[in-house]
């Protein structure tokens, strides 16, 4: 039989490393970007060449040079240093909002879906209520009511953030709930908390992780948007959205707004690449292609 196997020429497919690169190359690039930003944020005091809040009126609006790589802003502050310190706030807010919102939303949506009945109905109408408003407008309204500040803005964002996780967790739990292993756990006598947390949620975690990853970029973008509108951070804190806002009328001094914008773009794209890669990796159909 091996004779036949040798006679028939099996077309050679791309080598394993080529295939890996084609499938996960972008995700790896995205991960590299995210890791680089995380390292910069953690080691900001060492990575930043200047104090981000050091005002040097004499050296204001200097173009990029060997002294100030990305130039200086209207108060003479070093743009590169401010971007590096700004990464701290952006990443912190992004992770906090998405992780807390995701955890809260998942548990609420999962529990509602498992219990069914009026609890599920009530939760879904509540999420409808939040979905009625454009998220950034609702967050703006809440943040404005609570007062300017990073903490208040995060609370505002959390309020608009959890429903999408509730929705997704609900649909995932509903699919799993009808499978026989859940009935098997019930016949054995396990209680609802065990079944939901230990049996169902581990099977629903894949799409949730993908949503978390894709959403991190989104949260950073929304927070930057709120800061751009003057709601996020208190001046003079370095933050990307606020920096873009400060530079938006300086047409000649393009570097003031452009570099923070590129920072936002790179982080959002990085998270999107990683999220897409994760989705492919978790999807068995896409995986075998």
């Amino acid at each position: 039989m091996s004779g036949i196997a040798q006679r028939i020429v099996v077309p050679v497919v791309a080598s394993p490393s080529r295939r890996w690169l084609r499938r996960y190359g972008l995700a790896a690039a995205g991960a590299a970007i995210i890791v680089a930003w995380l390292l910069l944020a953690i080691f900001a005091p060492w990575a930043a060449p200047y104090d981000p809040n050091f005002v040097d009126v004499a050296g204001r609006l200097k173009p990029p040079s060997s002294v100030h790589w990305l130039g200086t802003d209207a108060l003479g502050r070093d743009v590169a240093s401010r971007i590096i310190y700004g990464a701290r706030i952006s990443l912190l807010v992004g992770f906090t909002v998405v992780l807390i919102g995701g955890l809260f939303g998942t548990l609420l949506g999962g529990a509602a879906a498992y219990m069914r009945g009026w609890a599920e109905e009530a939760l879904m109408r509540l999420t409808d209520l939040v979905f009625c408003f454009p998220p950034i407008i609702l967050a703006m309204a809440i943040a404005a009511a609570l007062g300017i500040g990073t903490g208040n803005t995060m609370i505002a964002m959390l309020v608009v953030w959890w429903p999408k996780f509730s929705r997704l967790a609900r649909s995932l739990v509903i699919t799993q709930r009808s499978l026989e292993y859940v009935e098997a756990a019930q016949t054995i006598g396990f209680g609802p908390a065990h079944i939901l947390l230990r049996q169902i949620l581990p099977n629903a975690v894949g799409p949730l992780i993908v949503l978390v990853t894709l959403d991190l970029g989104n949260a950073i973008l929304v927070f930057a948007g709120l800061s751009f509108l003057g709601l996020g951070v208190v001046p003079p804190t370095a933050e990307w959205g606020a920096m873009v806002a400060e530079g938006r009328e300086l047409v000649q001094q393009w570097w003031v707004a452009t570099f923070p914008g590129i920072a936002i773009l790179s982080v959002v794209m990085g998270f999107n690449f990683v999220g897409d890669g994760l989705r492919d990796w978790l999807d068995p159909h896409a995986r075998n292609r």
Partner: protein
């Protein structure tokens, strides 16, 4: 007739030679079809039988060239009316598909487009090949549906597929298949998803169509009974090859390949009385299609293997119209019938007079969403007044078509559902409305085995965790070490190596998963086990292994079973008593042997007659009682006797008054105004 280069009239319609279809995956070629050759003549009916993974479906798809990447025909020819389909270009093959070769698939629920009306789909199938105008195709669609036995075809063509039942959709698929008068119809497991009564109707239709239109048919099935019912010639496939070929009369009564022999003896027979409940099984698993074994591919599992089997046998003739790929039967000798494992003095299992489970007039109604805001909720009466008793140590079978309420009843008994009415008493405890906390201690005594081995095990938990969970919950073992020991014992009990505790469900085959599922049910040491179609998703040989295991466990542990199945032969084989359900009501209760010897209810009679027997000689002598139509809806069941709308002997009285379940001679019980009339 198109201008085809037709060979002489007596030449075969289809000539497949050394066909090899491989899946060129990243991990190396999967040799799904690996050297298949056969001929098919005009108007002939050919059956292809084999277990899942034997390559029978891939073979059919290769003929139609319905292969997706990474599958590819790497060698061989498929000569069809003078053309080689294996090497035809895309345009050429499209002209053949649907026009000259039509195909009907297994799943009637997904093979029709849900957003298009039946008429549109049928008309498109006909106009696609330019043989009919739209108007002509439309008239023809209605005629075809009528021919396929669809009632009121003028209205039916205006419907969407979801308005049809599975059997009706399969009729539509057949209408579509025959719409262009093909010379070959390939039916891939066309009745596997259907109930046995509907299956009988569809098989009858297939036979008639073959006779009327002279269309050749290739019928693919895992069920020897289905094949024997329709086909004039049978191919048995194993490990990507044809291992035996012949007429069903010869092949099914005197198999010449050990695999055919094993298939034949593994399935319980509807027409056979057996003393022993154990079935003949073959060891092991089918080989890995990435690396077929050297020599005979069946050798490792073959009870007849000899030294010569190390050499790969060719498909050689062993008689007129017969061929087999086996060294042992080359000299023309038959394979001896299986030596029965001597029935170890089975303890008189049955007949402890105390009922372990008592179900009295139990009901379960599901509220459906109402049609409008103010419309009343409609009720689905899944179980509507069922009474039954299960004695200690006996096996009670629950049979009926899908939708008869048997699975709902299983979930009521195990209190996954709460009954709408009636009473359920388990060993003296009334559990009808017990809360989940109250019932938890009883869960140790009452367990369940599920139908789908792919859904019933949590994919994120290792086998060890799956089995240790119940032990810890009920405090059966103290500490992790004791739990691990017990897990090993449980795996050993169901015939799996103990090292499997570390592995995850996806690493196991369907049969092995079902063993794990049984081990989980036994972990808490129950005395009552509800088995909800535990073998219906498995191949014949694996079914036999699981049945043997369940019978063994019953003897060793003194278990009581409530066994739910739709396969009458299986139920007859392992059950002491059988309860026949129809639309949420009990039709008949009897001892297994009595029920098959003299069924009193017309429904039981038709069910038995619809189940195929894998022996054409027996088939010919059996009395057939055709069942009319489809089961009515459980939302608005018929008045009086629920079976009357399909009953061959119903009278006006049946619509007026519902027959009670009456006790007859010998403990048989039947709910019919005219018991035994048919």
């Amino acid at each position: 007739m198109p201008a085809t280069v037709d060979a002489p009239a007596d030449a075969p319609l289809l000539q497949v030679r050394d066909l090899r279809t491989w899946f060129l995956t990243d991990a190396g070629p999967v040799r799904a079809v690996d050297g298949v050759s056969f001929d098919l003549h005009r108007g002939e009916t050919l059956g292809i039988v084999g277990e899942s993974g034997s390559g029978k479906s891939v073979c059919a798809k290769s003929i139609m060239r319905l292969l997706d990447e990474p599958a590819r025909i790497v060698e061989g020819t498929i000569l069809f009316r003078g053309r080689d389909l294996a090497h035809l270009d895309e345009e050429g093959i499209r002209a053949v598909r649907g026009r000259e070769i039509a195909m009907v698939f297994q799943d009637p629920m997904t093979s029709l487009n849900p957003v298009l009306r039946i008429a549109r789909q049928l008309v498109e199938a006909m106009t696609a090949h330019g043989r009919f105008t739209v108007a002509a195709a439309r008239t023809r669609a209605i005629d075809l549906l009528r021919r396929m036995g669809v009632s009121a075809p003028e209205r039916a063509v205006q419907s969407y597929p979801h308005q049809f039942s599975g059997g009706m959709r399969q009729r539509v698929m057949l209408a579509m298949g025959f719409s262009n008068e093909p010379s070959l119809l390939i039916a891939d497991e066309p009745t596997t998803a259907l109930d046995v009564t509907i299956q009988a109707q569809i098989l009858d239709l297939l036979r008639e169509l073959n006779a009327d239109y002279g269309t050749a048919v290739i019928l693919i099935s895992h069920d020897l009974g289905v094949i024997a019912n329709v086909c004039a010639r049978v191919l048995v496939m194993y490990a990507g090859e044809v291992v035996e070929e012949g007429a069903p009369e010869d092949l099914l009564t005197d198999p010449r390949h050990p695999y055919t022999w094993a298939l034949l003896h593994a399935a319980p027979r509807l027409d056979a009385e057996t003393e022993d409940r154990r079935l003949v099984t073959i060891e092991g698993q089918p080989p890995d299609p990435r690396a077929w074994p050297e020599g005979c591919r069946f050798r490792a599992r073959c009870p007849f293997a000899v030294g010569k089997c190390a050499e790969h046998p060719a498909l050689l003739p062993v008689g007129p119209g017969r061929a087999t790929r086996c060294w042992v039967t080359q000299d023309g000798g038959p394979l001896h019938p299986p030596g029965r494992v001597s029935a170890q003095a089975a303890p008189a299992t049955t007949a402890h007079p105390a009922p372990l489970l008592q179900v009295e007039d139990v009901q379960k109604h599901f509220a459906l969403p109402s049609d409008g805001l103010f419309a009343p909720h409609r009720l689905l009466r899944a179980v509507d007044g069922v009474s039954l008793q299960v004695m200690r140590g006996e096996t009670v079978g629950l049979v009926g078509e899908s939708g008869c309420g048997k699975s709902t009843l299983a979930r009521l008994v195990t209190r996954l559902y709460e009954p709408t009415g009636g009473r359920i008493v388990f060993d003296g405890h009334d559990i009808t409305h017990a809360s989940q906390a109250d019932i938890r201690p009883l869960r140790r005594r009452m367990q369940m085995i599920f139908q789908d081995p792919y859904a019933s095990l949590n994919p994120r938990m290792s086998v060890g965790e799956i089995l240790a969970g119940p032990l810890k919950l009920h405090g059966i073992v103290a500490g992790d070490a004791a739990a691990r020991t017990r897990v090993r014992e449980l795996l050993d009990l169901v015939g799996l190596p103990a090292r499997n505790a570390e592995r995850f469900p996806h690493e196991f085959s369907g049969g092995q998963r079902q063993r794990i599922s049984i081990a989980r049910a036994l972990a808490v040491g129950p005395d009552f086990v509800v088995a909800d179609e535990p073998i219906s998703a498995l191949d014949v040989n694996i079914q036999a292994q699981i049945i043997n295991l369940m019978v063994d466990l019953q003897e060793r542990l003194g278990l009581t079973y409530l066994f739910i199945a739709h396969d009458l032969a299986v139920v007859r084989h392992i059950c002491d008593r059988i309860v026949v359900l129809y639309l949420g009501k009990v039709m008949e209760v009897a001892r297994a042997a009595d029920l098959f010897a003299r069924p009193l209810h017309p429904y039981t009679r038709t069910l038995i007659s619809a189940a195929p027997v894998p022996d054409p000689r027996v088939e010919r002598t059996r009395r057939r009682v055709p069942m009319k139509g489809e089961p009515p809806s459980a939302i608005s069941p018929p008045s009086g006797c629920r079976f009357r709308t399909r009953c061959p002997v119903a009278e006006a009285h049946c619509a007026a008054e519902e027959p009670p379940l009456m006790a007859m001679a010998g403990g048989q019980m039947v709910a019919c105004h005219f018991p035994g009339r048919i």
